[in-house]
Amino acid sequence: MKAIEDFTLVGKTILRREDAYLMRGKAQFLDDLPEPKGLIHIAFVLSPYARADILSVDASAAKALPGVIDVLTGRDFAGDIKLFAPVIEIGGYRPVGRPVVAVDRVNFVGEYVAVILAESPYVAQDALDLVDVSYDPLPSVAGIRDAMKPDAPVLHDHLGDNLIFRTAFETEGFADRFAEGDVVLEEEFRLGRVTGVMIEPRGCMACPDPIATNLTLWTPTQIPHIVRTAIADHLDISESVLRVVTPAVGGGFGTKAHVYPDELIVVALARRYGRAVKWVQDRREELLTNAHAREHILKIRIAAKTDGEIRAVHLDVKTNCGAYPNHPYSPTLEATAAVRMMPGPYRIRNYKYDVCSVTTNTAPTGAYRGTGQPSAFLAIEGMMDRIGRRLGLDPADVRRRNVIRPEEFPYVNVVGVRYDTGSYSQSLERGLEMIGYDAFRAAQPKDRLVDGKYRGIGICNYTEVSGTGAPGWRVRGFAKMPGFDSSRVVVEPDGKVTVYISQADAGQGHYTTFAQLAADRLGVDWADVTVVEGDTSKTPYGTGTFASRGSVVGGGTVIRCSEKVGVKIRRLAGYMLNADPERLVLRDGRVFDPDDAARGLTLREVAETAYSMNNLGLPQGEEHGLEATDYYDPPMVTMANGTHVVQVAVDPQDGRIEIERYAVVHDCGRVINPKIVEGQVHGATVQGIGEALMEEIVYDAEGQHLNANLLDYLLPTAMDVPDLELSHIETPSIDTVGGIKGAAEGGLTGAVPALANAVCDALSGLGVNITRVPLRPSFVLEQIRNAQAAGEGRT
């Protein structure tokens, strides 16, 4: 598809229409919705054990509490709700289902054991303490390596071991190509377990409609249509009687792009009791039970020539699935992402990977901003520096030696992913220039100790998968992931425009940017365009808003659909003006002949004809109405790219890392609204700083969750954030509608490896080797002390 060059509103910062009602406190998030009469509040009894048999549940005291309606256990749902399981069709995946409330056995701390139904949330909380569950604790396992030991407790008997997923890939003649390297480098990288920590925790509310068989589920999800399909499947009800609506959503980050057991439970209960049912998650539950992410072990072996050219790469990735596969992705999501994204912006032609995922007695892992890519780039970008150190080359030169050159586009990478356009070299060079790389290297003292601190620079040159279409999901086995998104664009009888989109905003500014796109294509004032999203009863079916797909797929369908309506507008106007429709243009709310502007109509006048509100009638064969529907399935994936270059100072006294300078070069193709893209880059980068320096969910070896609160799970605050120096490059895609590429995740993907590399660079003179994140001060200090002790041992 040719990039569209005649945009007028695209590329302009329009301030968000969402802001005023959010800042006046008028937005309705889930817990802000008016509560229906007769609402039942529910709360979950959570397992305190990582693995145990449930011997008995005595709810008599809880049931006796005034205001408690009932207390239900897993068996009470077994008849209504099928075993909860994603549909994954990829070799090496072995299906596992879960009861939505545990039956007989719990497999992670926080698993639902019983459900309290009460007249008020306070009473529901009171009743939690009165449910007496008798457990028989069993041996449990939390870590990847422990779960792979032959004598490890096996979570799911039918698997025989804990390997839920395993697959491999190898290019032809890999061993021979690997042997051509002059040097072989090997390293093992690890990433801590993290999660989205949206400031709004999850929750959901199911309301029976006045028409008794119908039901509305309010849930702050990024994937309303997929939620509806999953609920209908598992409850064996028709999708046509279930409406899924998203209220205002207080952040998503992938964590809200799952289907969760509680969504099935509230719908089942609303059907059973004929009353509205609501659940609101607290922060402890959020950290215990929402999908976690990462906890990857990546072993990478690289064969390189003495000039730094990479001959072959072998990547072995192990991921922690948690106790059960998440829905709808299963653990294959991050596993296949990590191995498929690793080649990144580099010319890697000989590649072998082995990847597996193991079940453990921890919360299920799933999608979180960056999915697999921070891991992949921690490994490959870490190796770029190591190749440099081994061969005495500048790490920037090692990247230059391997990066895909401008003349090589379009480029198909070693796993079959097409890079249509990109600015890989340009962005690398600009990032280095912004930070003053050469001057820093020239001045970097040998022992690197200046004013008591060690300084280093880290680079990450990354690609960012965005806008995945059906082929991209199918190749990874996601059978129920449509890939397309859709829209319906309606010019109303008064000439104003309504756009219904299958996506679901969680703060990205869709109500502004998608209005910009429709207004641009229809030649109307963007303020005259209303955007409707997040309601399965109003919008056509689609995949949703996650994995950097909003602008690519949502934007693409809005452009296409608006243009379809534009064709009809011109056709009708041509008929009304007795003019050639091809000659007419849409601008300023009018449709007119550009050579004779007086010869034109307002959009309203055309709409009045379309809606039979005048005496003109319609041309033969024309239908009433002025709208179109569009389903846009984008290419397999579209690659955005960028470069992070960061300078840090490490204090050897306390292990603290200070970010002194931070340059971000960012290329997401055609930019719709620059300020909103900037916001995405800022937000993602700071989440990456969090993942690199402080965030980690900690389990002990037996699977006890040790930090399910925000005092112990550290998020970046305003004090932790450096001023970022941002530079945009705009290299439009030639494959996607409008040339758009995704923008939401690259910041995180770039930050984690760049920071790890910077700290490693700062401390490499001491013999410290940084191979894992997060780099908390205590950990860094330990590495410094160990290296110092080893150094003294040698002398």
Binding site: L15, R16, E18, D19, A20, L22, M23, R24, G25, K26, A27, Q28, F29, D31, D32, L65, P66, G67, Y122, V123, D126, G196, V197, M198, I199, E200, P201, A248, V249, G250, G251, G252, F253, D282, R283, A506, G507, Q508, K675, I676, E678, G679, H682, G683, A684, T685, V686, Q687, N709, L710, L711, L715, P716, T717, A718, M719, V721, D723, L724, G747
Partner: protein
Amino acid sequence: MSATKVTVRLTVNGKDYVREVEPRYLLADFLRHELHLTGTHIGCEHGVCGACTVLINGKTGRSCLQFAAALDGAEITTVEGIAGDGPLHPVQEAFHEAHALQCGYCTPGFLMTTIEFLGQNPDPDRDEIRQALTNNMCRCTGYLNIIDAVEDAAKRLREGAREA
């Protein structure tokens, strides 16, 4: 477990309210569920994230950590009280123009913190702003545009004061 209810009188956004609630009823729940002022959001219920920040007798406080009954007679300002339905407050305008909010869930807390802070320090530098904001968590924006907005809001308020 539900104890006898007590009478609580609060002045919220300049309006007097009297309600009978349990002694353990949180101020956040009182505002949100008794008065339907749902602009004050609950993010963590343990006083870390700052989403529930309101002004209690002119000073910021965590409405998720305080019992309504313990504040009998207090004056509360919530996000709904900043500008009502009228023109946006200079702090709100600055947040809008700097793109200092994305999902907006944490924003009411940031607005309350900023209004108190700029009242005390009308001309802060960026480090002082960072320190003032450190008790409010935002997961979307990465804070930088919020810091810009607070700088700009300070300017707007200073200019407004000069004109007045």
